[in-house]
């Protein structure tokens, strides 16, 4: 059928053309020697101004803090939209087979470990690679593993909603506190501290804690909601 052939050929041609265009453009870029215009300035400025040993965190939470707030909101919007499409919290799958002893014991053992690792990564985000987004995902894993091991366990939507809402609000409240302190919105507060120590970089660790809790609660809610939607499907 000619029409079918056209519809499969079109995207292929487009993708090939786009790849060719990109290859030509990339060939013209100064590879290996990127212009570090702002990057270099931030590298010189970050330790003294922000006080975070991990410069990436200084960029993510201080210099471009409102980007991070935007990304949190995007995640929240995606969770809201998914909730709207997946519908109301359904019944737990009634006929789900209970997990065996090994799975349940393993899940119970994993839970504290994942919790500690997640919190460690969140709280050291201003010192070492890691931070709120990465640690938040590990926290989510900590809460999802027991649900997967024991599908009959009742979900805790209300508690998750509280964590989600309050963590997001805490991020903005920190920003508003800076605004009220006669600073700009989202300016780091509380002094820089000693570079490299756990209590340093002002409010940045607190912001990362808020990010981590929000990301964790959001992903947990989303995954739990999806397991429920899965159970509804056969009806």
């Amino acid at each position: 059928m000619p029409t079918a052939r056209v519809t499969t050929l079109g995207p292929l041609l487009f993708a090939a053309g786009f790849a060719f265009l990109l290859a030509v453009l990339v060939a013209g870029l100064p590879f290996g020697a990127p212009p570090m215009t702002v990057g270099e300035a931030i590298q010189g400025d970050a330790a003294g101004t922000v006080g975070a040993a991990n410069f990436v965190t200084a960029v993510v939470l201080a210099y471009r803090g409102i980007d991070t707030l935007g990304e949190l909101s995007i995640l929240f919007a995606a969770a809201m939209a998914a909730g709207l499409v997946l519908g109301r919290p359904g019944e737990r799958r009634a006929g789900a087979a209970p997990a065996g002893f090994i799975l349940r014991a393993g899940a119970d053992l994993l839970f504290p470990l994942l919790l500690v690792v997640g919190l460690y990564i969140i709280l050291h985000g201003h010192l070492t690679p890691g931070g709120g987004f990465q640690g938040g995902v590990i926290l989510a894993a900590a809460f999802v593993v027991p649900v997967l091991a024991d599908p009959g366990r009742p979900p805790e939507h209300r508690r998750l909603a509280w964590v989600e809402g309050l963590a997001g609000a805490a991020f903005i409240a920190t920003g508003l506190a800076a605004l009220a302190w006669d600073h700009q919105f989202l300016a780091p507060l509380l002094g820089r501290g000693t570079l490299g120590s756990l209590v340093s970089a002002g409010t940045l660790p607190l912001l990362y804690l808020a990010v981590g809790l929000k990301v964790g609660a959001e992903l947990t809610g989303l995954l739990v909601r999806m397991t429920e939607a899965d159970g509804e499907a056969p009806r």
């Binding site: 453009l25 013209g28 870029l29 101004t49 809201m80 997001g168 600073h183």
Partner: protein
């Protein structure tokens, strides 16, 4: 303080599920606060635009909001459009309330931000919130349309991101003013043009730009009319505003303008011709929306202040007219045939439809006439065949527009042949009536309104002033390096 225009809707959206008995009023109250924030900054920005460094970091290191008349005007438009199209009839604390607030926050951010990647973040926020709202009607048709929208919009976001990556790799900065300073030496080549085209196509998805607007009719026909009104009226204008900032500050080249002119002209042609063939009112309005945004693009392609005034006029007119028409279409679903006699049964709705149709076509003394007049006079002042062709296309499609809109009006007032037409919903007309009042007032005060728009356009077109306000102290020793010659301000 202006950062509140973004922060407050986000805060309200995060806390909405926890607000208990206040749920019903939190959203509208927040939008009123956003409007109040914009009003409080209004007098200062009218005298001279100012910048707000988010986090207190000096540009171009940190992100800044650039507050001028145009930005505040659009923040006000965001607040009032969202209030007018607020999902009042949904259950309190519904996810649609939160998504509308997130959309408002993203739109305010797009109006204010002066940083390329920050704009991308807000653009994504608007995009994701609008996927949810588009799918919110809950019908299979809405899901299918929303999925199509999601795929196309993701492709657009990818293109825009590639464009941003190219720009960043060439210049090493994301601040619009800093980019504007480096652009003449670093982006004035085929690579810069390619980056602009990628950004144009990427951001053009929301702005209903010609080749990337295939999602428009399906989504607008399938989603709730309130959502269609929000997307067609508000969101498309914010995407256009971002493109205009890029055009003025970073890519003020003839090639970029020609690309905008060509795509805009093609948009007018395809939109109006498709609208002529449309069989139901929602699709007709969607295609006409594509055509109107084509005019906006053509207007902004005109260099200098004249183009900005004309583009702002058409954009604002469409911002008022199209949501009203979609709200009216909420009563009149189904095919055009089923509209027979609907105007006789609800005279006010019929009269409002006629009013907006006349303004859309451009009948004096309605604002739509002045908007089209400004565009045509701007085009006439340019030399070259393409400009004249665009003017000819606008004039010719006005006839097409008149023909299909009058066909609908004729149906509305036709006598029922057999009296067996389906009864139409009779919801309140408040929203459309308010917008009608705005339109009439705008027409009555065309003179002062034109002066105000001219002042804002002059502010927005002043490239040198924007660059100077954002980066007052810096030296560029050689392209691509940045020396900060002032000591960082002491941080208490």
């Amino acid at each position: 303080m202006i950062a509140l225009a973004v922060a407050l809707p986000l805060l309200a959206a995060f806390l909405l599920p926890l607000t208990g008995p206040l749920r019903r009023i939190v959203g509208p109250a927040t939008l009123l606060l956003v409007a109040a924030t914009a009003f409080s900054a209004w007098p200062r920005a009218q005298v001279e635009p100012f910048t707000v460094a988010i986090g207190g970091f000096r540009p171009p290191l940190g992100i800044l909001f650039y507050v001028d008349g145009v930005a505040l005007l659009f923040v006000l438009a965001v607040a009032f459009s969202c209030l007018l199209l607020w999902p009042w009839n949904e259950a309190a604390g519904s996810r649609k309330h939160a998504l509308t607030l997130l959309l408002a926050a993203g739109c305010s951010g797009l109006a204010l931000s002066g940083d390329l990647f920050n704009i991308y973040v807000f653009y994504e926020l608007v995009a994701v919130a609008s996927y949810g709202l588009a799918a919110g009607a809950g019908s299979g048709r809405a899901y299918a349309a929303a999925f199509r929208y999601l795929v196309l919009s993701s492709l657009g976001s990818l293109l825009a991101l590639v464009g941003i990556a190219l720009v960043y790799h060439r210049t090493g900065t994301l601040n619009l003013a800093h980019l504007g300073e480096l652009a003449p030496t670093l982006l004035n080549d085929p690579l810069g043009l390619a980056a602009f085209l990628l950004l144009l196509l990427g951001l053009g998805v929301k702005a209903e730009l010609f080749p990337v607007n295939a999602w428009v009719p399906e989504v607008y026909a399938g989603a709730e009319r309130r959502v269609s009104a929000l997307l067609a009226g508000l969101v498309s204008k914010l995407a256009v505003l971002v493109l205009v900032r890029l055009l003025v500050l970073v890519f003020p080249t003839d090639e970029a303008r020609t690309a905008l002119l060509l795509l805009g002209t093609l948009g007018i042609l395809s939109g109006e011709l498709a609208a002529y063939r449309a069989r139901d009112l929602a699709r007709l309005l969607s295609w006409s929306s594509i055509g109107q945004l084509g005019i906006v693009f053509v207007a902004f392609a005109v260099p200098g202040e004249a183009g900005l005034v004309a583009g702002l006029a058409v954009a604002l007119h469409h911002l008022v007219a199209k949501p009203a028409l979609f709200l009216l279409a909420e009563r009149w679903g189904g095919s055009l045939e089923s509209l027979t006699g609907a105007g006789r049964r609800s005279p006010l709705a019929g009269a409002l439809f006629v009013l907006f149709a006349l303004s859309l076509i451009g009948v004096p003394p309605l604002p739509g006439f002045w908007a089209k007049f400004l565009v045509l006079s701007g085009l006439a002042a340019q030399e070259g065949g393409l400009w004249w062709a665009a003017a000819a296309v606008i004039l010719a499609t006005t006839v097409v527009e008149a023909s299909y809109l009058f066909r609908v009006v004729g149906r509305l007032y036709a006598r029922d042949a057999d009296g067996a037409t389906a009864p139409h919903a009779t919801g309140p007309l408040t929203g459309a009536a308010v917008l009608g009042l705005v339109l009439i007032l705008g027409g009555a005060s065309a003179g002062p309104l034109g002066d105000a728009l001219g002042h804002m356009a002059a502010q927005a077109a002043d490239r040198a002033a924007y660059l100077g306000r954002v980066l007052p102290v810096r030296t560029i020793e050689r392209p691509g390096t940045l020396t900060l010659n002032a000591a960082p301000e002491a941080r208490p």
